[in-house]
Symmetry: none
Subunit: 198 residues, 4 copies
DNA sequence: TTTTAATCGAGACGGTACGTCTCGTCTTAAA
DNA sequence: TTTAAGACGAGACGTACCGTCTCGATTAAAA
């Protein structure tokens, strides 16, 4: 990750952690306050009290800054929790996803990056590498456990299923439609079958 | 549509249809060739052989131009066809949607506008009014007929169902994943039940 | 004058005199109110309640409009009066010139055209033909009479003398310096000799 | 001068002298080649290989650019030389002035600025401050010395006399009339008296 | 009285230049 | 060597006028 070279294992050799955080937060704040168009490198620099050059030294573009904040935030807010029956874990995860997308500032960052990926193939690639793939990897584990535990059919198309599960939620978020818990529940019931026990 | 005032009823006083089409096509072409960032009013003007002022006279922004092309193209390519069993009509429509999003130039316009809507609330509103709502209205009719003909349950949540059906397809298109026919078919089977007869 | 083609030869009949005057006055007013830069064909048209095309039909450019007003106004205000001793007539004429340039709106038009002639060779030529030469012709008569009546030396360089007489007055007007009567009087005394008789 | 902030006192912090000169020369060239109307900020920028913003950063308008070139050029070409009898020095200065106005490129700049001053009161003021007044101050010294040395009458109206001397020369230059040396000589003889000695 | 031809107002059109904005790079001096 | 500060080339923004070109509507002569 562009932003991590810092105080890693061996030899710090400069780089101001304070400045790095100031930049990430400034970018985040600007996006929430004024939308993606309001996020400019110049604006970030001035709000973070940092020189433009300092930003360009460490991040190739503003998209990379936003990706850094997204990876950090989503790493926390969208970490699948492997407890209870797999289907319940999926349901829990999708509820987290819905909340993240519609309620949290970092959710706006994710949607903005999905948006920007439509405008620029390089962003699309970066977004896939830094967010989509790693996140999907974490998601897979949930379904894989369900298969192993016999709650889900053996031949299940894991990626296809996740697209069917995430798709409607992301679609609603992108089009500004509310996502009640019931929507998520019915979705999970429809796709994975209703809660096993009953 | 902003672009229609032309040769309406009698003769309101002008508007060059040729210029209008040149602008729409130029915008379309630029988007496909260079992405959303490559669509500039100046670029459109020069490619269309039109004065910038002519563009600003009729369209408030480049987004409105793209919306005009989208509405025109989607009106053709995404018109639901009410023939055969309702579920089959839905399946046919979703296949059209998948093809539109992944194969046709106008599909890139749609995705770009979804993207831009994430960056700008005004665009989001416009996009909803000019595309999402009218298109959803046309979609509703498909499911409503299915309910009337007894192929679908009475209490079906029509909008929710459409979000569940479109969501995965749009999500795959947005993330650059292929959409084979089988993906659409399994989706429809899962959500509306497998083809009736068989 | 550019405005005369009308009621020529037989009787094609046409051309709106009202519009012609409205244009001349609008141009005049705009020049006085907002300076030469504020004189635009569009501005004249809108203030005169006239279509742009009507202006272009009768005048090749805004400079021609201003020349029309100048010729009309200067024809009245700067007509040399051939009464009394020639030197007194010259003095009277120069006082008129000073007053015209510094006090009357039409004087602003003259200065503006002198100015524009510095920017555009075609304007310079037009200005010379339509104003400078005819006016100089009228001026010459004053000195020529003085020579004939013996008040002025036989070999007098008429044009050179007029340049020496007008130069300082026009120069002061161009540089925004006051022109008291005494300045004119001393100028005439210095160049043509003090009042003869006294 | 607007252009001098550069390498002043101790720690100027920027300003590209190369760009500054390129702009001045480009403006100068354009004026001579295409007239005042051909001097556009865009044209200057492109010819000077400079960004428009760089021009707007340092000059409020194209007039200020031309004033910079004028002040620099006139400072050299129109510096009065205080040698020999005062009347002779005046004569020499006026010959320089005539040559400057009719032969040198920088003279076209002066005339263009006199012209533009007629169109715009702000330009008139600027022109007075930056050129007319400083130049007049230098001119005064010539006549003042003549008074001190007894070559010129004690009560001489210095500014009025300069207007009478410069007026005819500037007038001829503005109206595109030749200015032979004899014209200047007769002017000086008429106003200051013929060369003392003879 | 009808025709017909030029004028009028209105305003769209292809252009050029405006002055502003933001981009990403480059330069400077201080720490 | 890295910082903050900020000048630089580049180029799009949206606006103002340019001069040309329809368009109906009006008007006055000739038919």
């Amino acid at each position: 990750m562009a932003a991590e070279r810092t105080t890693k294992g061996r030899a710090p050799h400069r780089r101001n952690e304070e400045a790095r955080l100031a930049v990430l937060h400034a970018a985040d704040d600007l996006l929430v306050e004024k939308g993606f168009g309001g996020v400019t490198v110049e604006g970030i620099a001035s709000r973070a009290g940092v020189a433009k050059q300092t930003i360009y030294r460490w991040w190739p573009s503003k998209v990379d800054i936003l990706l850094d904040t997204l990876v950090e935030d989503a790493g926390r807010a969208l970490a699948p929790r492997q407890t209870g029956p797999a289907v319940d874990a999926v349901r829990r995860y999708l509820r987290d996803l819905a909340r993240f997308l519609t309620k949290e500032p970092a959710g706006r960052v994710l949607l903005a990056l999905v948006g920007e990926a439509q405008h620029d193939a390089a962003v699309a690639e970066l977004f896939r590498e830094r967010y989509l793939e790693p996140q999907r990897e974490r998601e897979r584990a949930l379904l894989v456990r369900g298969i192993q535990e016999g709650d889900l059919p053996d031949g299940l198309d894991v990626d296809g299923t996740w697209d069917v599960l995430c798709g409607p939620i992301v679609f609603r978020a992108l089009t500004g439609v509310q996502i009640p818990k019931s929507f998520v529940d019915r979705l999970v019931d429809g796709v994975l079958g209703p809660a096993k026990a009953a």
